[in-house]
Symmetry: D2
Subunit: 343 residues, 4 copies
Amino acid sequence: MSIRGFASDNNSGISPEVLKKIEEVNRGHVVGYGDDKYTETAVDLIKKNFGTGAIPFFVFTGTAANVLGIASSIRPFHSVFCAETSHIHVDECGAPERFAGCKLIPIETPDGKIKPDMLSKHMVGFNFEHHSQPGILSISQVSEMGTAYTINEIKDLADFAHRYGLLLHMDGARLSNAVVALGTGFKEITADAGVDILSFGGTKNGLMAAESVIFFREELADEFKYIRKQGMQLSSKMRYIAAQFIAFFENDLWKRNAIAANSMAHILYLAVKDIPEIKITQKVEANGVFIILPKHIIPALQKEFFFYPWNEETGEVRWMTSWDTTEEDIRRFVKVLKELVRA
Amino acid sequence: MSIRGFASDNNSGISPEVLKKIEEVNRGHVVGYGDDKYTETAVDLIKKNFGTGAIPFFVFTGTAANVLGIASSIRPFHSVFCAETSHIHVDECGAPERFAGCKLIPIETPDGKIKPDMLSKHMVGFNFEHHSQPGILSISQVSEMGTAYTINEIKDLADFAHRYGLLLHMDGARLSNAVVALGTGFKEITADAGVDILSFGGTKNGLMAAESVIFFREELADEFKYIRKQGMQLSSKMRYIAAQFIAFFENDLWKRNAIAANSMAHILYLAVKDIPEIKITQKVEANGVFIILPKHIIPALQKEFFFYPWNEETGEVRWMTSWDTTEEDIRRFVKVLKELVRA
Amino acid sequence: MSIRGFASDNNSGISPEVLKKIEEVNRGHVVGYGDDKYTETAVDLIKKNFGTGAIPFFVFTGTAANVLGIASSIRPFHSVFCAETSHIHVDECGAPERFAGCKLIPIETPDGKIKPDMLSKHMVGFNFEHHSQPGILSISQVSEMGTAYTINEIKDLADFAHRYGLLLHMDGARLSNAVVALGTGFKEITADAGVDILSFGGTKNGLMAAESVIFFREELADEFKYIRKQGMQLSSKMRYIAAQFIAFFENDLWKRNAIAANSMAHILYLAVKDIPEIKITQKVEANGVFIILPKHIIPALQKEFFFYPWNEETGEVRWMTSWDTTEEDIRRFVKVLKELVRA
Amino acid sequence: MSIRGFASDNNSGISPEVLKKIEEVNRGHVVGYGDDKYTETAVDLIKKNFGTGAIPFFVFTGTAANVLGIASSIRPFHSVFCAETSHIHVDECGAPERFAGCKLIPIETPDGKIKPDMLSKHMVGFNFEHHSQPGILSISQVSEMGTAYTINEIKDLADFAHRYGLLLHMDGARLSNAVVALGTGFKEITADAGVDILSFGGTKNGLMAAESVIFFREELADEFKYIRKQGMQLSSKMRYIAAQFIAFFENDLWKRNAIAANSMAHILYLAVKDIPEIKITQKVEANGVFIILPKHIIPALQKEFFFYPWNEETGEVRWMTSWDTTEEDIRRFVKVLKELVRA
């Protein structure tokens, strides 16, 4: 098996700038747990990019960012609406239920994106103690199907959520890819669009293990420090997470990496879209390509380049590109693919 | 305030060997979540040091190692006996109760070390559904008071625990310091002494953010991977935690660092023990010095070198040394201390 | 509003035999918490009806029976498959998620009944730590749509569940109604059909507050007493729950009550089925009638006889009959209904 | 073994007035879940006795009243201070930890009663995210050692708690006994004394299974209905719990029962206090007598009249009297006791 593949954007390594910054902050003693100047700088950079109302907290994993952000904003008798394909519903082993104690209500979508009209029928049972009370609408940007919400789509969802008293949570594990894809800015697509709680990720875009929860409402952030600690996510040597985010924003590393990943997905898309035996199932808007392959070639192709099946019934698979994917990777991959298809 | 102090062994930085190893593993793609050759190497090194029966899992924080190790080994109706001063009871913001759902029963000790006779009166209520059922005995090695359990003391506790059907958990956030202090090996002090579940930490001894749960009973480890994921502690880019542990064991970095920290505590102890105005309250066996200071000098001393109060009533404070503490740090600190005492 | 209606089978009172038995056991002192002769008798009666392998525990509410039965049988990283309309998913305010920490996966059904082919696509991700691990298949007998599973349907589901390593849980809040509807026995429809964990309810069928969890596998029952206590459901004066179950089985009260309720639903069905303006949406197999009414008449009808809407979009409503529903109740109700429809 | 004993006030039966009231409300249909006139009456009676600011909710067990009252008032990162002997710490199998997710901090007391000076050393770590944040002070009235807090003692504790931002919770499983012992009223000893959350019990004083959570601050009660439902304690046929509380207040049943129980304890106390071989260890203020017996006679005495050991090391045992204890019961018991002592 090739050491390079299209399984996930977290199979790639770390951008050299990140390692350099980690080395740079590795000087002498600083107070632990975030009370240091590097963390202060990282917080400032986030405020600069997301607006001064942004209140960030750093954690180690995207699952933790999602679960702790949700747990701090609602009580266990609330429910969270999310796409049936969402990471919080499918890929966190029930962490939201266990830690937040709440109910997740999956919404079927054709493309990973929730629309207000999919939610209407669920806006019932308010004040009725037998039902979990609607508490949060959670969307993923980029969605797990590689599609991106436009700013207006987010605003519509925020309006809808707020009209019914729900909070809007965004799982932004791939937010940088969305910002680049839409040609917009972090603030425009989050704070300005009505997002209340954001999981903002770096790990899938060239960092080592650096994620954050960003609140856009002060009252939600008040007690979060206790929840992060009780949630086992308070880093003692916080400066090393901070360093990663500093590198992320300095010289627009986040943007360069996201542009690279998105471009590679586009190139991959162009290289395969006309192969008659395959079918591209989703718009390629960021760094993922969803595709139905002839089932019989999947094992052989996976043997050369590892990737995950998405739907074993239909033969749909997912190919993710990364900040370090090269055109050569794609050429080699498409070559093998074509050979297998035509064999 | 000096950038160097005696607040905590996690205010220090990362050993250069660790950064170098992180850079070394930062080559190309590897499968995420621990299915990579670096993680395999790190696991092998742990087995080499702790015995082939050791089954390790990597996590980011010491709190997570403790809580997840405990949560996976008992059910919520069980209780955990621990020293009143223990990290799980005092310094984890109730994380064990929240995630494991269990009861912690604090045991008063003079020196942070539990003895079997302190437990006897609690070995009641078995099979009585009104009482939390005794499930785990948790000890800290080095203890939070800077003292170390001898191998025989651990064996006695293990025998006691097992006789009553309890498991023995060890919080080994500073296990390296204990191994060095006792002149023994990892295996002798854990697996061979009857420990069932170990939190083995690296962060306080020169790593960046690398901790582990090590099970010495296969049946306890079986389902742990789900608990780690649900506990929000599965690293996607696992190779970077693995790299830290590889560096830890290569060329005995863990030992060199622990010897350095322990020696500095001893030098600090020697430098202050004869100052008549102060009182050393605990044996200095590893890298912590506990001391009662004249209350009025504490703020001034903290202003120069940050450290934590331990008992505000008595004026007891805690000084921790680290792998990178220097004799010069101690000289400067003791100089200020003496000036303040005599002022 | 009439004091009699069709809202729920728990709006009715208690059978006189039950009160009489409560009075009968109200003599002198007995040991609390279930260690008394009345509880022993109730347990024996359950074993007589459900087979000697049945291990019953008494609780106060149906929600508790479901949640505690589930919580004791799986771990939080497991998932529970249930009908989208099921009580555990819709009407327990997220109690299973909060207390068991697990994920509920709702299955869409046309009639409240799950079929094996609806589950097949979910039988994936075993051993994959990112996914909640399939743990329990939960079915409701009678279903929340008033339909009953045949014995063969249950056996097929049990086979399916066991083949994949899942347990079969039955929410039997209305099990008596199902037994009567199918002309079978308790044992045939539960233990013999492969049910592993049963919530067996009395409250909806003439008891005051008496529910039970019955395990059909000894290993599942072992630690349940602690879970019931920790779940806040251990009755101190247990004899009064026991008395209710004794009355339930003596002279076949359960059967007489269930026959009465089912018959009344059938009479109601016959009385309305030919009204052209309404549409009966589900088979009337037990004591519930599901019906689409002209939306404009619903408020007026509810004003006279309270009942719950089922689907506000379609105008579907639910009418439940009870052990004490009379033909006169139905006559008066249908009279008003017809007047409103024709107005 | 005699069918009468001194094990617990819940080994006795139900007052006849209670059964009569249950029969009385057993007429026709009423809406379920508490939306009925009987529940309204019971709520009014509680407001009449505890003040118009009292907001009561009914539940089935005392454990549930404690746990749900606590869970609704704090968040999981808070701690609860309680006597080391308290029911929530010792006799609820860890239910508070599991359901509320919080930490319990046991306070050693000589007589089951907490004094402000026992709490002072714990009033630290506010705002420090490593520590569980002080949230609730929980006291038991009557205490588990049979002693009662005076009104002034409660006021002092309330002042202390409120000064530090804690809430005052009272476990009033035996509140009626305290009211009678102190010659005061429910309101004076709760609302007027600064209690914020009260568990008010009836089961130990002649009811069948009727407990309540009473909030004295509106903001604490707002969301409680969801927590009761999610806590599996919402009764569908609520009128039957309501009936018990109606009977409790009508004709002062609560008072007659409590006076009877307290008097019997006093008579028992007088009958044994001069036996030289035994030692009464606590003031007899309500319906419990704590006593050290010669260890060798305990099994023989328990064989005749069941009661619980309290401290197996010292030979301390607990005798509880009940509303239906008779002088004849005491005479027979003391006779056997004296024979055993002198044997």
